[in-house]
Amino acid sequence: MPVLEINRHTQDLNLEPDMPLLWALRDELGLTATKFGCGVAACGACTVHLDGEAARSCMLPLGGLQGRQVTTLEGLRDDALMQRLQAAWLAEQVPQCGYCQSGMLMAAHALLRRHPQPSEAQIEAAMTNLCRCGTYPRIRRALRRAQLP
């Protein structure tokens, strides 16, 4: 019966320890910003923050998360960096279908926290989430725009 902190609320989840975090978020807690894309941590649509670092929640069993802090896009509504990223995403009109964008924003947030002015190589290493619509050129531009001068 894992106890973890989700978006700053302690959650005592009466759930199977082998249930991946993604499905606890989506089906049990109704936090649907985090998406299912592949189930094998390949596409990044399910990216959340685990203790502040980007993590793919579709392959994180709840049993291994005892005492960890989980943050989803919903939990960053008042976060200044996320708001700056979202504003940059809108200024560049990044999303098309939009399905991958929650995960993209979570990955971008983790990247800019670690590297406020990332190099191209750092961007390419951190932004490995998949987008089928092909919004990558605009994601690059929005990441530049969101950086503090």
Binding site: E16, D18, M19, P20, W23, D27, E28, G30, T32, A33, T34, K35, F36, G37, C38, G39, V40, A42, C43, A45, T72, L73, E74, R77, Q86, W89, L90, Q93, V94, P95, Q96, C97, G98, Y99, C100, Q101, S102, L105, I123, E124, M127, T128, N129, L130, C131, R132, C133, G134, T135, Y136, P137, R138, I139, R140
Partner: protein, 748 residues
Amino acid sequence: MKRRGFLIAGAAAAGGALLVGVGLQPPDARSRLGTGRGAPQPPQGDGVALNAWVQIGRDGRVSVAVPRAEMGQGVHTALAQLLAEELDADWAQVGVHDATGAPVYANAALLLNVLPLQPDDDGALARFARGAAQRLGYSLGLQVTGGSSSVRDAWEPLRLAGAAARNLLLQAAAARWQRPLAELKTAGGFVLHGERRLGYGELAAEAAQLSPAHELPLKRREDWSLIGRSPPRLDLPAKVQGLARYGIDVQLPGLRHAALRQAPSFGGSVVRFEVEAIRQRRGVFDAFLLNEGSAVVVADSWWRAEAALKAHPPRFHAGPRAGLDTAGMRQTLQRALDQHSGTGFRNDGDARAVLARAGAVLRAEYEAPFLAHAALEPLNCTAQVKDGQVHVWCPTQVASLARWKAAQVAGVAQERVTVETTYLGGGFGRRLETDVIEQAVAIAMRCGGAPVKLLWNREEDFTHDVYRPLAMARFEATLGPDGLPMAWLNQVAGPSVGTDTVARLLPGLAADLPDKNHIEGAFELPYAIPHLRVRQLRVPLGVPVGSWRSVGHSLNAFFTECFLDELAHAAGQDPLRYREALLARHPRHLAVLRLAATQAGWSSALPAGRARGIALHESFGSICAQVAEVSIEAGRPRVHRVVCALDAGTLVHPDTVRAQMEGSILFGLTAALHGEITIANGAVQQRNFPEQPLLSLAETPQIDVHLVPSTAPPGGVGEPGTPPTAPAVCNALATLTGRRIRQLPIRL
């Protein structure tokens, strides 16, 4: 000409009976206002409907009915722009609502894509065929989002709907003020008279009682303030906040969740399914065979249903198509090309005779693989069957077909079915299919009135797609004394998307008819080649095939634009100049080609180890040229830059057009560099992204998009950017290495 007449007759014959009595002219925009018969249900909430396309709230908020699916192509915004322009609405007050069901919401432009016509053919027969196709699509009530047709279809009706609503508001204000209508103006959501003004919200209720004037002139182009601008897209704020509701996000009280496994091999069946063991598991409501090929678990969470299937995987019998493999299917296509000449789609001059007496004949064979759609939102559908009513919530491109199929499965009249279209997490043609909708309704019928959400895992999505067909093109050509092609013979072989699609939708009507969508992009060549012969071999291969972004164009542009490049090289001529020489009678094509070449610096020197390639292709009413700049890094092709020029007629939302070009190019690049579905033992071998990667951000080239200013009616923009990408890249690699790439994906 005779041949073409026959083909048009053939295409029309499929729905010919339906045409009798409905007329052969395209439906006029006025009849699509939806104010008389065929009007949709009155709106909900406090909005007042001024016609089928617009409601205005007391607070002045304008809500535009959008019967097309938003799958990232910006259709909600574009359709709202068309209406708001003529309404003189305040864009900050404009929103949209999903509109399903009423006949006026049908897409009349969709079936234009199935006509085997030259794009610039404006003769009487062509005009007749186009009118009949539009009338047929409208009469069938096809509420379909596809074929890059939404804006082309909405261009007149939505503007006219805005003008009609504005006229009603003017009449209402004129009555209140007791002034002649001619003295009144509109701007920003208000009717104005001197210093006085009335908001649209204050007038809507009175306006709704009136009838629009007979004459509804549309604005002059120079008076537009929304069309041709790029206001922020309406759907994006929700999408960056994680609030946009996709099909997978549908939540309802008492919602159940279903997972399924389908036989891995085509036509396979379930031979063992441990229903009793599965029913013991936590959260499981039920487990059953949905049909002979698929097993389903329904639980209180999707993961529990899926985990049950993982713990107790059904066992399958491979079935009659277990012997299928890609190598065998390639041989089948080869044999067909050896033994048959197929159906003619173009026969200018006498290519066979010229080739027979030519001294030197250039020959090449091209091949493209099966491809999956791989939209990022896995297939899903939510359904509820209760008290003889069926409710469906789904991310679909075919709301009207979804309704019809759901009614069939549930055994009720269509009037007892509602379909709510959510946002689509990508479509690309996969969501033109109704398979997951039919499954969800069938599962819902076993849930005792509870709603149930069926979600496929990624492996089901990859292995049970309707694929872009495996196809081959066999070319022969001979050059004249000037080096330009004198004769060109192209035979394209592969399974027919048209035949397969009709067989799935209307099994009774399925027949092996000429299929324009199979050969599109191969037979309408704009190049001046005196002896031109293009033929189609429809060869069923036992693998389901369907519409994949740009359909036949993505195959045929690769075949045709690469082979033309081969001819330029064989003639010792520059590939750009070669194309220019063949396009003298096509000024729009020529302008697009030159724009791309100029912006790419075609003649300028490149660093050692780099090369450029060019390709040009017309599809869905738009012309696109691309120049790719490539090198080879660690034995792999590396695309550094793609310069794209597009003539898509009038641009409603230029920034969306740019975004569609960027996305289409990356879609084409994913296919060229990585895309391949192979079959072994009757089953698809690529099951998830690690085996079938999508292009990554790190692999993404610089993309520069240049849009040709135009006053022509809008062309499509969702698909025309994809076809030129693979040939531009392959032509660049051929220049770099001296070796032709004749098979995709690219392997050096």
